[in-house]
Amino acid sequence: MHTGTDAAIVTDGLRKTFPSRKGPVEAVRGVSVSIGAGEIFGLLGPNGAGKTTTLRMLTTLLSIDAGTAMVAGFDVARQPKKVRERIGYVSQLGGADDLATGRENLVLQGRLYGASLAEVKPRVDELAALLDLAEFADRRVKTYSGGQRRRLDVALGIVHQPTVLFLDEPTTGLDPQNRANLWEHLSALKDLGTTIVLTTHYLEEADVLCDRIVIVDHGQVVAEGSPRELKRRVAGDAIVITMRDQQVATERGLALLGGKSFVREISADGDQLRLYVEDGGAAMPELLRVLDGEHIGIKSMTLSEPTLDDVFLRQTGRSLRDTGAGDGARHGTEVAA
């Protein structure tokens, strides 16, 4: 936890309820987080978990129903102007002007933050170098590729050298190559001392990029820590076995494998058995041997390192991918049987 002077953001019991035809919807239900200066902090969760709503409250775009939020040293509800001067925000949509060039967009943005034309010009060159925009900075944004556009969006968010940069789903819609490229640029920004807060439903993104994350579900924080800490809590590797003959096999498998000393946790779901073991590589042959010995046929066996999805599953009882957010972030090796 970060408290006192080294915290870039501290929220306490943040709440937001939206009216709707079916009655009020509690989008954010008491989110308390503390984000240290210079961290890359991720809010991970499925669509509709309340990530964007939280971000919009922190960036003064949405009023706060209850709770408090301090961003860059100022109270968001009481001193929104002070907060706006110190933060950058890149929305899911970006919001660059299509008919203007990248450079024109950046110059206007800088001037809206109070810089003179003479001050903003060298800054734009600096940003063009930092985010590799120079090549296309003088073309109209309409002609940009997805990756180019996203880098411009980030540049727009940091024109005024904010202490905290908020990014809402920064890599949604980017191909893997451009995604990795943006991650590199965000890491470089972090090295310059910027605190970065981002939302994502990509497990891999939270894993690779973030120093610390909170997992958000139904408007509440369900887990908090570094990706490594969170995964360690799941203990070991995950193995999923799909049975050939559903019920009998699953029931017998549960009894048979649950007793093995190397199996830390086991659960059955439909025709699937899900196991957590210490060393997946060593466990797989052993599992095959046991099942084969009892003549239990299996369709497949999948081994994966624990992912944040396993963390999510453990905390919420649901898979992040089942919630409609999935992007196949699980790197599995499949063994046909």
Binding site: F18, R56, T59, T60, L61, L62, S63, K81, R84, E85, I87, G88, Y89, S91, Q92, L93, G94, G95, A96, D97, D98, L99, A100, E104, L108, Q109, R111, L112, Y113, G114, L156
Partner: protein, 251 residues
């Protein structure tokens, strides 16, 4: 001071956006000319004397008010587009004043309309329209009030509805009755009593009547002060409302 600077910056931005949109420019210039070319001939029989110049003296002030009204009422379409493309959200996170974010683009839209107007008046004058320069000067102020009122209303409606079809339904639903009850194309005085009564609740009616009086040089006419008495306060109220809508959450 800061608000003025931000307003100027955002006005300038909108100008560039408009000038780079050839379709928009074409429609902007051609619409008023189409009214002149395709409607004026029809009116000849309704006007004593029947000369094109006399027809235009009655009809052109109405067109100018109509252009101002229509341009103002359609401002929200751009707002919807900018809401959906994230532009407005990007500006709202900056320290720029909310008033500037609202008014900047409207001012540039207004200036463009006056450019179109100048062209129409020039063409009309070549066709025999009698220009009263003092009247035109005061008319610019009156039409500015009308345009800003309608534009602020339209933008606020866009911010509330957030969605193109709902917004279009509201605006189109209002456009037609307001136009028909304003005497834009034919003076409302030829209509029955109830129509004349209802027209008095229509701000566009006052703008049209005021515009006709100003263009004919009758500065002392009741229509002139009535137009300002209605549109001045209306403008202040609508802009204040729109600014407050802007300040509140725009999800």
């Amino acid at each position: 001071m800061r608000t003025a600077r931000h307003t100027a910056l955002l006005m300038q931005r909108q100008f560039v956006q408009m000038l780079r949109n050839p379709v928009w420019l074409f429609v902007g210039f051609s619409t008023p000319l189409l009214y002149l070319v395709l409607f004026t001939p029809l009116l000849k029989h309704f006007t004593a004397g029947g000369s094109t110049g006399l027809v235009l003296d009655v009809f052109l002030p109405g067109i100018l008010a109509l252009l101002a009204f229509a341009s103002g009422m359609s401002s929200g379409f751009n707002t919807i587009f900018e809401l959906q493309s994230g532009v407005i959200e990007r500006f709202r996170v900056t320290p720029a004043s909310r008033f500037a974010i609202l008014i900047g683009p409207l001012l540039s839209g207004m200036i463009m309309v006056f450019v179109f107007d100048a062209l129409v008046v020039a063409v009309a004058s070549a066709l025999g329209f009698h220009i009263n320069w003092a009247g035109i000067a005061i008319l610019v102020v009156l039409l500015s009030l009308l345009m800003i009122s309608m534009a602020a209303f339209s933008v606020a409606t866009a911010l509330v509805t957030k969605d193109i079809s709902a917004f279009a339904a509201v605006i189109n639903g209002l456009n037609l009755p307001l136009l028909l009850l304003a005497g834009v194309l034919l003076p409302i005085s030829v209509g029955p009593t109830w129509m004349r009564v209802v027209a008095h609740f229509n701000p566009l009616y006052y703008a049209v009547e005021g515009a006709r009086a100003l263009c004919s040089g009758s500065f002392g006419a009741a229509a002139v002060w009535q137009a300002f008495a209605v549109l001045g306060p209306l403008c202040i109220v609508v802009v204040a409302w729109a600014t407050s809508v802007f300040k509140k959450a725009v999800a």
